[in-house]
């Protein structure tokens, strides 16, 4: 990897050092889009990550209301009265966890670009778009 203008990177601060390593990589291998797979056809889906945030309210509501309702049904069935609260709290936690699984893991655009191993390692799927749906 050639660094034409940065001949002394050792003395650079950590922030500028990262900029030095990232910039040439992007010049050499321009990534067409976030989700261009092997076929390369599925391009122009750049705005998927930022648009996926509109799904978050639906998940939170599903976690709270759905599991509170499930707890209420179990309460009626078992004759107890505490499962509504358990369902509400556990459902909320589960919703937040699911949102993290779908949108949080490796979803930060800048982060994924600065980690070359993410693309090189086939074990690590590119989560940036497909998992967000």
């Amino acid at each position: 990897m050639t660094r034409p203008e940065q001949s002394a990177p050792a003395a650079a601060a950590p922030t500028s050092a990262r900029a030095v390593t990232v910039a040439p990589t992007m010049e050499q291998t321009p990534r067409p889009t976030a989700s261009a797979g092997p076929s390369g056809e599925r391009s122009h889906r750049d705005r998927l990550p930022e648009s996926a945030m509109w799904n978050v309210p639906a998940y939170l509501l599903a976690g709270m209301a759905g599991y509170a309702f499930t707890g209420w049904l179990l309460d009626r069935w078992l004759g107890t009265s505490f499962l509504v609260v358990v369902g509400l709290l556990a459902g909320t936690a589960l919703a937040i966890y699911t949102i993290w699984v779908r949108y949080g893991r490796g979803a930060a655009p800048g982060l994924a670009e600065s980690l070359p191993d993410h693309d090189a390692d086939p074990q690590l799927p590119n989560r940036r778009s497909e998992e967000m749906l």
């Binding site: 509109w54 209301a65 759905g66 499930t70 459902g91 699984v101 779908r102 497909e130």
Partner: protein
Amino acid sequence: MSPHVLAAAHSEGFEAPTPADFWQPLVGDGAFALTRPMVLMALSVVLIAAFFLVVSRRLSLVPSRLQFATEGLYNIVRNSVAIDLIGSRDFRPFLPLLLTQFSLILVNNVFGIIPVIQFPTFSRIGFAVAVTLITYVVYHAIGFRKKGFGGYLGSLVPSGVPGWIAPFIWLLEAFTFFVTRPLTLALRLFANMFAGHMLLLVFILGGEYMLLHGSNPFIQVASIGSFAMGIVMTFFELLVQFLQAYVFVLLTALYIAGNLADEH
């Protein structure tokens, strides 16, 4: 003198707008009444159809101002919603649906601030439910057709979660896909239009009441502030009306894209 006047003014005091103000039957009453939003919805369909027919009949390589504006609107849906979310390979069959929903919602929302018409159709929840139902049927139909019945239901859980938690996440995803997605979609549109129109009613009716029925000149002068807020909120409403139309098709495209996505 003044207590008497105040009491008299109070007896016929300001009546704040209520949700009942949104029920406006024109012909008949009850469940089968012909209401104002029904007429406006029909009017919007006629307007949109006529508009697109006129514009598309006079297409030219050097676009007129009208064609330029229409293409701008079309490109919002085509490029920044359909292609950006569904992808350049698959977006084409869904473009008519997205453009229709966008223009229908946009025109009916903007009806809320056009003089004389002045009623956002989607502030009646039935209309919001109807457009949401189309989205709901379309994205589930795509999912079932693409992945099969069991395959679609099985694909709800994202990959890479621990096995013991997967059933709970499946239930959460099922609630999300089948209940809260359409619920939030319909409620977001309805509530924004309803609340926005309510806000305009409060400021403008309040200003009108202060001006015409104010008991002293100070209150009548203060109505200027209420009217000014009414004007400011009208422009703000225009922004919200556009944004809600955009968000609605954005989410429709997002749900379609999710069920079109290839399996891992």
